[in-house]
């Protein structure tokens, strides 16, 4: 941990210098560009960052689960899809008022996390990372995905505008967009999602940094056997980690659906999209680092959005594959990620 902190300091200084240079460069470029080009590129950048915030929230669930239990959770997408469809069903099909819906899906997330942990993953403690990885893979891509399809008929649905309701009822804000610059208006759905995602992210980080059980979770992530002998209830920590994972999945799923506008399980589905975007983020940020997940999410969100804007017109459909290419590139160049911990091998 100590080593990480020292490195972290250097990283923070270096990255803030790079960021300052980038911002200065962008301002110079923007003052040169024509109005249309400027608005277009600002749209790409801001939109990418907004998406990045939502992706960070989705990713943090995977990172927390990996940190605590050493299980790389590929079922995150499946959980996200199931819980988002549940939200849609409660609001649009059952007509439950939305504050109650948020409460109910949070409970559903807690229950799902608890059930998955008790029924499946508690028995896998000590079976090796690989078997757990394959179990989550199959759980997410075939079991949860197709069960969701079966229960909710597998049709694409229009997501109810939860962000809009929150804005209208609590903040009395009308109108769907925020004026940024020139002709570019940022939709409230994106900005609201970004704000909510960042808030949720900060809540998770606070839990990790400043609570006793967060401290216990960090301890378990270092070594679960020693933690057990020091009196930390490792199994309970595992359950909490899975519950946090599910909560991140449900909030991330709702926000993702409100940005995209639909809940869908066809064409790879929302779970495929979430996993596709989350994988390069997790790997780039480093599997163990929560802050890394946020930084990497912004980077990946920005890259994908810029590729969508500028490369897609030359190579059609490139934005669909660019996260995977990024994943390959990151893994070849730096498998431990930006903020990850490098393992030591011994014979």
């Amino acid at each position: 941990m100590r080593v990480l902190y020292e490195k972290g300091k250097a990283h923070i200084i270096a990255s803030s210098i790079i960021l300052a240079i980038l911002v200065a460069g962008l301002i110079v470029i923007f003052s040169v560009l024509s109005i249309d080009d400027r608005d277009k590129s600002i749209k790409a950048i801001v939109g990418g960052l907004m998406n990045g915030g939502v992706l960070a929230l989705i990713t943090v669930g995977m990172v927390v689960v990996y940190k605590a239990t050493r299980i790389f959770n590929m079922a995150h997408g499946g959980m996200l899809l199931f819980l988002t469809y549940l939200t849609w069903w409660l609001i649009a099909d059952q007509g439950v008022p939305y504050p109650l819906v948020l409460f109910l899906v949070a409970i559903a997330g807690v229950v799902l996390g608890w059930v998955l942990d008790r029924a499946l993953f508690r028995g896998m403690i000590g079976h090796g990372e690989l078997s757990s990885f394959l179990i989550t893979m199959i759980l997410g891509f075939s079991v949860l995905h197709y069960i969701t399809k079966l229960i909710f008929e597998g049709k694409d649905r229009v997501m109810p505008d939860i962000i809009g309701w929150i804005l209208k009822d609590i903040f009395q804000v009308e109108g769907g967009t925020v004026h940024v610059i020139g002709t570019y208006n940022l939709p409230w759905a994106e900005l609201g999602s970004f704000i909510v995602a960042t808030l949720m992210f900060l809540i998770f980080v606070t839990y990790f940094r400043f609570t006793k059980s967060g401290l216990a979770m960090r301890c378990v992530s270092e070594d679960n056997i020693i933690s057990q002998s020091l009196g930390i209830k490792v199994k309970r920590i595992y359950t909490i980690a899975w519950i946090i994972g599910c909560l991140s999945a449900v909030t991330g799923g709702i926000l993702l659906a409100s940005v995209v506008g639909t809940v869908y399980s066809s064409r790879g589905g929302m779970d495929g999209l979430a996993i596709m975007m989350a994988l390069p983020i997790v790997v780039l940020g480093g599997l163990e680092s929560i802050a890394g997940a946020y930084v990497a999410a912004l980077i990946i969100g920005l890259t994908v959005s810029l590729c969508g804007f500028y490369v897609d017109s030359y190579i059609r459909g490139f934005a669909d594959v660019v996260p995977w290419v990024l994943l390959m590139v990151v893994m070849i160049i730096r498998p431990s990620g930006l903020f990850g911990v490098k393992g030591i091998k011994r014979i």
Binding site: F72, F133, L134, F141, V143, M328, I332
Partner: protein
Amino acid sequence: MRPGGLFSTKYASELAIVKTKTQWFFLAVALVFSIAIIPLIADDYWLSVLARIGITLIVVLGLHILSGLGGLISLGQGGFVLVGAYIVAILTHHWGLNGWLCLPICAIGSGIAGIIFGLPSVRLKMFYLALATLAAHQIIYWCFTYEGSQSVVGPSHGLSLAEHPLTLGSIDFSSEQNMYILVAIMVAIGTFMAVNIQRSNTGRKFIAIRDNELAAEVSGIWVFRNKLLAFFISCAFAGVAGWLWAYAQMHVSPRDYTIDDGIFFMGMILIGGWGSTTGVFLGVFFLEFLDILMSDHISPWLEGMVSDRWGSQLRTVLGPVVGGLGIILFMKYMPKGLVGVWERFKQFYRLHPYSFWGG
């Protein structure tokens, strides 16, 4: 473990794949039954089902060399099957090349694709490598659906091979019967090759790398080269399977093999049991028959019982869900897979009155 009273008296008998007369007998019966008798008694539906299972067997035999022996997890095997299928489709469609000539080209082309996407395996292990192969599948899939490459790979709904059917003299392989026989022969050859790779120098190197990479490197095995070799061999198997698939369907499309298939290939190895050719057969037959049972037999029966709202989805949903749950339960409660059950059973009857000796 060997049956009681059986001892090797020569080195040759120690090295033999088939050791006892009973094994020879069962092997001969199985070969004659699957190659000669099944085509006579089975109808077209079952022949096409069995041909599909045979093609899956070839893919999973290749994956067995990569994962079961080499310990390198690949979830993108479906992508390499697609490469093989597309190579034969493109070569025959655009240049009218002879189908048999395409067979080695498919194997080698797929193998080279495997080497390219296997390059990250130098630095990556375990699920990192699995993620890299997942990315490989997506990138391959994208290449076959990309608009700019459609002049070569055809429209995104696929390419037809109907103009150039596979023939050998007067035998036409477009009929289900002949295709099944071809697949069965290829499965026999593939199994023989896989078993031989497993017990040769190469296979032992793969096993050494799987068990401990550093120790293998220290004892003089060139790890990088052997990892790439494992990728090449397994993807060559996948390429041959793709060749067969293209001719079995007479049509290739990027949607033939999805990520789900890649995951299920891995699941077949897990259900069968790591590092055993018998396990490959058991796993493939178990999962494929489960899938067919669910999608073709149980779901029509269930559709009449549940409401329309759910019934329309059952056919596509039941197979993956039950198969996936099967894999999960196997991994949780029987980590050694079906082959472990089979070994315990053999031990039981060989030691029969004193079965407790086997533990």
